[in-house]
Symmetry: C2
C-alpha cells in the first residue's frame, strides 16, 4: 500500500530508493548517493539526520568568521598535519574535568565503537535491541552476541532488572548501554544508571554511549545531563560521545571517549596517530571556549523546546503511535497498514521529507519510522506532510 496521492512516476522512484536502501545495508543511503542516483528528486527536509540545526548555524558563524576571512586560516587546517590524539585530548581534559590520559579522541564516535569492541570485547556482548546496528555488526568473529529484547508493551524502555538478570545468567564481558537509546529515544534516568553501573561492576567493559544526552533533561531548567563522571567511580565503564548530533557537524567526524587510562594507552600504543582531521581539531578547540559554550547552551535549549512541541504534534496525528523519547528524534509506529518503507520513501518522493525507515532494525515488532526533529519550521512541514500521507 503506497502513501496517499502518489503518481505512477513517483511510485517508480519509490521502488528505486528501496533498491538503494538494500545496497546500503543497515544504514540509510547517504544524501549524496540519493541525489546522484535520482537527480530529479527534490529533497526539502532531511528528517533522517539526527542533529541540532541551530547548533550547526552557530558553528558555521564561528567557522566563517574565524577561518574564511581574508587570510583564509582554513588553509592551515587543510594543508598541515593535525595534532596527535593526546594533544587534542589535553585541550579537552580541563573542560570535561577528567585527566587527559583518560580521553581518547575518535574520528567520529563510530571509530571509537569499533576500537573498543575490537580491542576489549573478546567473548560475549549484550546489546539491548532495538539499537544502533554497529554495536553488533562490529563484533569480531568468534564473539557471541546476546540481545536483550526491550519490550514493546513497555514502550521499548530499558528495564533495569531484566537486563541485570540477563547479565547474571549470560556472564558477558561487554554490556552496551545507549542513553538515550537509538532508534527509540528511551531514557535511562540518573537513578537507574546508578543502579545499573553498580549491578554491572563485575562486567569487564560497560559501554555507555551518550551521543544523544544533550537532548535529555530531568528538570525544568533543562540542565545538561551526563553520567560520564561515572568512569571515575567504575573503572570498567567506557563513555562514548559523538559530537555529530548535538553540534550538527557529522561531516567533520568528531567524537571522544572517557575510559580507564590503561585502555587509552593500549589503543594509542599501536595506532590512532593522526586520526583527527584539521577541522575536527578546530572544532574541539572551539567547543571548550566559554563564549561558544554560552551560545551553544541557548541553542541547545531552544532546540529541546522545539522538539517537545514537535513530539506533541506528532502524538496528535491519527494512524500512528509516537513512542516516548528524550532524544532529538521520535520513533513512530504506523497503524494504518502501510509498511515503513512505503511510508518513508513515499514521503520523500511526494513531499521531499526524508525519514528513517526502521524496516531493517531488529527488535521492533510492527512498522516503525524514526523522525528527527529539525528546525521549528521544518518540523511543522514534516507534520503537515505526514498528515497528508496517511
Amino acid at each position: 500500500m503506497p502513501i496517499k496521492g502518489l503518481t505512477n512516476e513517483q511510485a517508480a522512484m519509490v521502488q528505486h530508493i528501496k533498491l538503494l536502501k538494500q545496497q546500503a545495508g543497515s544504514h540509510s543511503p547517504s544524501l549524496f548517493t540519493i541525489k546522484e542516483q535520482l537527480p530529479d528528486l527534490k529533497m526539502n527536509i532531511d528528517a533522517c539526520f539526527l542533529s541540532n540545526p541551530y547548533a550547526t548555524d552557530l558553528f558555521l558563524r564561528y567557522f566563517k568568521n574565524e577561518l574564511l576571512g581574508d587570510d583564509l586560516l582554513i588553509r592551515d587546517m587543510l594543508e598541515f598535519y593535525p595534532s596527535q590524539n593526546n594533544v587534542i585530548a589535553s585541550s579537552l581534559a580541563n573542560f570535561l574535568k577528567v585527566p587527559a590520559d583518560m580521553l581518547f579522541i575518535g574520528n567520529g564516535a563510530i571509530e571509537i565503537i569499533q576500537a573498543v569492541i575490537h580491542n576489549f570485547t573478546t567473548e560475549k556482548i549484550i546489546v539491548n535491541i532495538p539499537t544502533f546496528s554497529s554495536y553488533y555488526e562490529f563484533v569480531q568473529p568468534g564473539v557471541s552476541i546476546v540481545f536483550n529484547k526491550l519490550k514493546k508493551e513497555n514502550d521499548y524502555k530499558l528495564d533495569v532488572n531484566d537486563l541485570l538478570q540477563l547479565v547474571n545468567y549470560e556472564k558477558p564481558d561487554t554490556v552496551v548501554l545507549i542513553n538515550p537509546n537509538n532508534p527509540n529515544g528511551g531514557y535511562i534516568t540518573k537513578a537507574e544508571i546508578a543502579e545499573l553501573l553498580e549491578g554491572l561492576k563485575n562486567v569487564r567493559t560497560v559501554l555507555l554511549d551518550e551521543s544523544f544526552i544533550h537532548f535529555a533533561f530531568e528538570n525544568e531548567a533543562m540542565e545538561l545531563m551526563s553520567y560520564a563522571d561515572m568512569v571515575m567511580k567504575y573503572p570498567n565503564v567506557v563513555t562514548i560521545k559523538s559530537m555529530s548530533k548535538d553540534f550538527g557537524i557529522a561531516g567533520i567526524r568528531a567524537g571522544y571517549a572517557i575510559m580507564h587510562p590503561s585502555r587509552a594507552k593500549q589503543l594509542l600504543e599501536n595506532g590512532f596517530l593522526w586520526n583527527s582531521n584539521g577541522l575536527a581539531e578546530y572544532f574541539f578547540k572551539l567547543y571548550v571556549r566559554d563564549q561558544f559554550q554560552k551560545e551553544y547552551e541557548v541553542e541547545r535549549k531552544r532546540y529541546i523546546r522545539d522538539t517537545q512541541e514537535y513530539f506533541k504534534n506528532l502524538s496528535a496525528i491519527e494512524g500512528l503511535k509516537r513512542y516516548p523519547s528524550q532524544a532529538n528524534f521520535a520513533l513512530i509506529e504506523l497503524k494504518t497498514g502501510i509498511t515503513a518503507d512505503d511510508f518513508a520513501f513515499g514521503l520523500l518522493v511526494k513531499s521531499g521529507v526524508y525519514t528513517r525507515t526502521c524496516s531493517d532494525k531488529i527488535g521492533l515488532e510492527g512498522e516503525f519510522v524514526r523522525l528527527a526533529s529539525r528546525s521549528h519550521d521544518e518540523n511543522e512541514e514534516i507534520i503537515k506532510a505526514i498528515k497528508e500521507a496517511l
Copy 2:
C-alpha cells in the same frame, strides 16, 4: 655544539623544543603544538612537511571557487554524514582502473597501515630500516619484527638480493616496501619491483607503500610511476597511497589502498563505516576529474624540477652529504660534528626553518636531518639558512 650565531635566549628555546620532541615520541611535534608552546618563535618555512605546495595552491583554488561561494556549499560537507567507504571507492575505481571491491578508502594512509598490520600481520614482519616508524610501532603484541638494515655504504638503497635472502631465512608473513623510501628517498626501479614481487610471491602480505611515488620518475618526460597494477598480478600485494604528500592536504586525511577483494571485504565487514570526512569525499571526487588532473600534472612536474634544483644546491654545501632521493625530500648527513637535534632546532630558532631531525630514526648511523622540498623561493631560503648555520 650549537649552530653558528645563536643568542643565549635562542639556545634556551632550542632546549625547550628538544623537550617537546621527546614528548612527541617518534614523530615531529606538530606545528600547532610548537606555536602554542613557543609563541615568540617565528616559523617561516616548514621543511619537515613533505608536500607539494603548488598542488595545495591548486586544490585551494578549486576549494574556494566551488565550496566557499555565496551558497557556501562547504556547509554540506561539514553538516552531513559523508558517504560510506564503498561509495567513495566506486567513484575512484574507474580512474584507478581497478575494480571498486579492491579499493579501501582510509582516514589518511596511516589508518590503512594500522588496519592492514592489525588484521593481516599475525606472526612476523620484515621492515627495511631506516623507515617510517609506524610500520613497526603498529605491530600488535606477539608479532616479531625483523629489521632489514639498509647499508650506509650503499647510500641506504634497498638491495633486492639482501632482502630476498633475509625473507627466505626468516619466513615472515609480511614484508614492507616503501617506494620511494622514507626518510632517505631511496627508489626501487620498475625492474627491481618486478624481481622483488616475484621473489616475494609466497609471503602472505607484501605492503607496497607508494605515498611518495608521484615525485619519482624514470624518464625525461617525468611520467607518473606506479606499480599499483601489480596487485592484479600478485594477490598478496597491498598498495598503500597517501594523498597528503602529492596534494598537500594532510589536514583533510585521505588515502586509499588497493588489495585483494577478500581483504577489503574483511575490513569493511565489521568496521570503517564512515571513516572519511566530508572534505575527503570532496577531494576524492575532485581528484578524478579530467581538468583537475591536467592542471595537477603541470604542478607535479614543476615541483619535481624545483626539487631537482634544490637537491643539486644541497649537494654543493660543504660540511654535509646529501643522499640520493627520488622523493620530495632529501636526507643529509652532518659532517661538522654538530648533532642532528642541535642543527634542526637551531635552524628553526635562528632562521625559522623547521627541518626533521632523524635522531629518533633507527637504522641510521651518524647525524641525519631530513629536508623537505618546498616552493622554489623557500628552497632557496633553506639553502641560505643552512649555509649560515654550518
